[in-house]
Symmetry: C2
Subunit: 329 residues, 2 copies
């Protein structure tokens, strides 16, 4: 059962993979008696962590009340939880995919919150592997909380991989949208959910890389209108510097567009998304860490596919509306 | 939590979708205190049902013993369970994706077994929709067992769809193996698990349909060597009746091979698998109920793809070794 519950937390965290940049994707489940009373994930850097969102949801379920403040405001959420009657969560266990943070960053420390709330048990998939980040487990144990570490550790490690990469250099994600028979370039995505997700991902990345040929041919906008966010800075990967400035991507306010064939910037810790087809796949293949393939439930007669030899491994599949999102590397 | 537990049972049942023909795919979970102590599915017609396999596994977990008879022998398994000390499962709940059978067929009735064993609670996703099959719920309720019906009913209904179709006419499954960029015909499947699964599916179907052009070009064997089973009967769909009898599929013992372009046999209740590429997809498109796409984690430069316009919906995805199996319709 511990594994099944942790799997729920891991699956939930995968829904926000990448979107939490520069934070890691983390999920949390709270169990009361034999019920899952909360299932949450960290959604966006600077907002409440997974544990905090789960505790708020657990409070709402147990008290049959709804909180009236912004739950994503970590300071408000911590303050609220710290002031609940002592022992409110005494019969609850929490499952977390990563050791709760013991340091105070943009948000208060989750370990000290859990120490105060004294849940029955804290189950953690993975110790925080970053130097100076760990200490949460020790802190809880010192405070007499029962802590179990290592449930679904391998799966939690895979979930954390982008975070570990973007500490050191660019994490490079190649994004592709295709039909089930592998046709691309037709604006195929069937669900508004996946379109919105593409725009959310663009919004958080440091730079969106696109090939010069695609820019000339497709004349894209590459903004974040579906998520109502700031359009990403663009690197047009091209030897040839001249582009028609009427192409929509040049018309967007508050965005930088650079035309270059220099990839040295990939050495810098960052999150880079490449959008493109066969050409960019071939050009960038040694630079790509992971692929995110949106696969739509359509078969198409569009002749445009992509040809490249590459062995992958599937990391995670989840639904986005009627489409599916395949994470692979 | 009820939904999460039932989802485990549903996912387990999907692993044997089709393989249970002519029986339905059914899954079962047993909970003791807050632990999943058994997770099983019906695997093959004529062998123990999901509930029985789960009860045997639960016995093994609770008693820390291993049974020494064939658990798939339904008569032995029922006999064993009926003779356990009264109240052995009194603290257990069982979750089942389909109402337990109340009639005695090739195997004894599961409803009467559950009536005898008096579990704490029986949770059922879906009432058996077949006339004359239901009655299990009523029987349990009369015996004073707490029964809850309707948890994850929609998902359980989808799981049951092939079974409902093959009661009335042929259930037609189109099988396809492809790379992630939609290339076919290269013998791509990366895992022995998916190859074995293909052969297990062939073994249970009533007839394997294949196009004449594929037979001439690929000279296939179409046997079940990986599952060590009897090779399926073949219908070569072709107007032209003459084939080189040296093609391996004609060399297999104990199989019928028919060459025909008459599809009237699809009106008969049965389970038909079509293997093929673009040609058969186009020819058979109005006859296909579901697709089973084995997608392997490879990108390939093989030019052979398949072009057809078709809107699908994804039903279920599961892993088979490193590959994934996508059920769609």
């Amino acid at each position: 059962m511990r594994e099944h519950i942790m799997q729920l937390a891991i699956n939930k965290a995968w829904q926000y993979q990448g979107l939490t940049y520069p934070n890691p994707a983390v999920g949390a489940v709270i169990i009361y008696q034999d019920r899952v009373i909360a299932l949450q994930a960290h959604q966006k850097a600077g907002t409440s962590h997974a544990e905090v969102l789960a505790l708020i949801e657990a409070f709402e379920t147990l008290s049959a009340q709804t909180i009236d403040f912004d739950r994503f405001d970590a300071h408000k959420a911590h303050h609220f939880l710290q002031n609940l009657p002592k022992g409110f969560f005494a019969e609850c266990s929490i499952y977390i995919t990563l050791e709760p943070c013991s340091h105070v960053g943009k948000t208060p420390s989750c370990a000290s919150l859990l120490e105060l709330l004294q849940l029955k048990k804290v189950v953690i998939a993975l110790k925080d592997p970053i130097d100076g980040h760990s200490g949460g487990i020790q802190r809880l144990q010192k405070a007499g909380v029962e802590v179990e570490v290592g449930v679904m550790q391998k799966e939690a490690q895979e979930l954390l991989e982008p975070f570990l990469i973007w500490q050191k250099r660019a994490f490079v994600l190649f994004k592709l949208a295709q039909t089930t028979n592998g046709r691309i370039g037709g604006g195929y995505l069937s669900s508004q959910e996946s379109l919105t997700h593409v725009h959310q991902m663009r919004e958080v990345c440091d730079r969106l890389v696109i090939g010069g040929a695609t820019v000339r041919h497709d004349r894209p906008t590459l903004d974040c209108r579906f998520s109502k966010g700031k359009a990403p800075n663009i690197l047009i990967y091209s030897q040839q510097k001249s582009f028609d400035q009427e192409i929509p991507l040049f018309q967007i306010q508050n965005r930088e567009v650079e035309v270059s064939s220099n990839l040295d910037f990939l050495e810098k810790p960052s999150f880079i998304i490449i959008e493109g087809g066969e050409g960019m796949l071939n050009t960038m293949q040694t630079k790509i860490d992971w692929y995110l393939t949106y696969q739509t439930p359509k078969l198409s007669t569009n002749p445009l596919g992509y040809s490249i030899n590459r062995e992958l491994s599937f990391l995670h599949v989840n639904n986005k509306g009627v489409d599916m999102m395949i994470w692979s590397k």
